[in-house]
């Protein structure tokens, strides 16, 4: 049994519930336990950085301090949370005035600096700790013939590429290949911007960016788009109906990579949160499943 501290972030408790459901189910099946940090706070994402960067580092520092007490690596499934936590760590390490200020601020609320904690994404844990070979062994339903477009989004490889290639990341490709699915070549779209929060604030701009991604996936014959970030999934799935008014586009399911892996591991669609999809995904994923062994 492997154990990690777990930082869910706000989205997987709401619009991205299916991500947490499928992540916990998949890791459970692989004998990995995530222990949710007690009383974690919001990472601040990109919006908070636009108001006060030092405060944003303070928010991250509290979560790192809570994780530091567990002695375990910290796993977070959200690209934005992952980046903010790693960015705060880097700043604390490289900028002594920031470090001094953070340690004092933490002290005043009875916490000790935790910037040594490793902050990791589930892709990193699955490829480097669990290993792709183990995934191949544990797959009971091969998803032969399912064409998947792997979409990584931006902040998991930029500005830092800590566990994967910056330009053409491969970790999700390898995990999806282990399920028997056919991974379509989604370069260079795999790391293009999903529009971030602009889909809400400047929809006419956000929708253009999303359309480019959906069209690229459709043009490459993908049956489904696999995502690793709550905001990417939200943007690509939820905007489809609105985009249809401007662009003719075939609806395409957008799921979390853990939902595809979960189907291949023989987990039930409900346990993987597939019933929460707005563009139906369950039939697309399960009709290809062929039982092995």
């Amino acid at each position: 049994m492997r154990e990690y501290a777990y930082y869910p972030g706000c989205s997987v408790k709401g619009t991205a519930r299916a991500y947490e459901e499928s992540l916990l189910a998949v890791l459970g099946a692989l004998d990995v336990r995530l222990n949710e940090l007690d009383d974690w706070n919001c990472c601040g994402a990109t919006a908070y950085m636009s108001i006060d960067e030092n405060e944003a580092i303070g928010l991250a520092a509290r979560n790192l301090a809570l994780a530091g007490r567990t002695g375990q690596d910290l796993v977070t499934p959200c690209n934005a949370c992952w980046l903010v936590l790693n960015k705060a760590k880097k700043r604390m390490r490289e900028d002594p005035p920031t470090w001094n200020r953070v340690t004092r601020a933490l002290q005043s609320i009875g916490l000790t600096d935790g910037h040594q904690v490793a902050v990791r994404h589930p892709l990193d844990v699955l490829v480097n700790d669990v290993t792709v070979e183990t995934l191949q062994e544990k797959v009971t339903e091969r998803l032969e013939g399912l064409k998947v477009a792997p979409y990584y989004g931006c902040q998991i490889v930029r500005p830092y590429a800590l566990f994967d290639a910056q330009d053409d990341p491969q970790t999700m490709d390898r995990i999806l290949e282990a399920t028997g699915a056919e991974v379509v070549d989604f370069y260079p779209f795999k790391t293009r911007c999903c529009g971030g929060s602009q889909t809400g604030t400047l929809p006419e701009v956000g929708y253009d960016l999303i359309h480019a991604l959906l069209k690229a996936a459709n043009d490459r014959g993908a049956d489904v788009i696999a995502t690793i970030c709550p905001l990417c999934q939200f943007n690509l799935e939820v905007s489809q109906q609105r985009i249809a008014k401007k662009y003719a586009i075939r609806p395409i399911p957008v799921v979390y990579f853990t939902q595809i892996l979960g189907v291949a591991l023989g987990l039930s669609p409900r346990a993987l949160g597939l019933h929460r999809a707005l563009v139906p995904a369950e039939a697309v994923l399960t009709r290809r499943a062929a039982h092995v062994g």
Partner: protein
Amino acid sequence: MTPATLQPAIRTEAERDPAFATWIREVPGAENIAECIHCGQCSGSCPLSTYMDRSPRQLMHLAKEGFKDDVLSSLSIWLCTSCYECTVKCPHGIGVTEVMYALKRRAIEEEKYPKGFTIPLLAREFHDMVVNYGRVSEARLITGLLLKTSWRRLFRRAGQGWAFFRTGRVSTKRESIRGRRELKQLVEAMRSNGKGAAA
């Protein structure tokens, strides 16, 4: 055309604010901004530059030379989604995204953005919700923002809201943490212009 709408295409020395140029060089990540060679990698890689009134390359140039008003009044800074394409492409290691963040902060601080413009409002609402409760309640954040900006959009989004409700992806519950008092204390100690800043 009335004379009031005439805008010079060329900027002059008189319009520079040297203090602004010094300030931008001190932004963490912008230390190398003076070494910008105007190669345009930032503009070329930016997925939003096509919508911008000034490209990232132009913004970097104007910022490093101290043309504060041009930079802060540009809508371009609000289009940045922090995807970091520019940052990883810059051959001189300029954290273009960090500069963009710094410009947003400065513009919000000096209230230099179109009134009612959603992006800075979202940042402020998000910030206040986190400071007060420690977590973001997505539905409350979006509803609150739409109430402040556009009633019509709130109604148009009602159908979408229902779809989320039906699939259990939205909650009206207020998300919050137990350590709200400690978090507030921490945030105040970290605040850039607060007591902690001088130390």
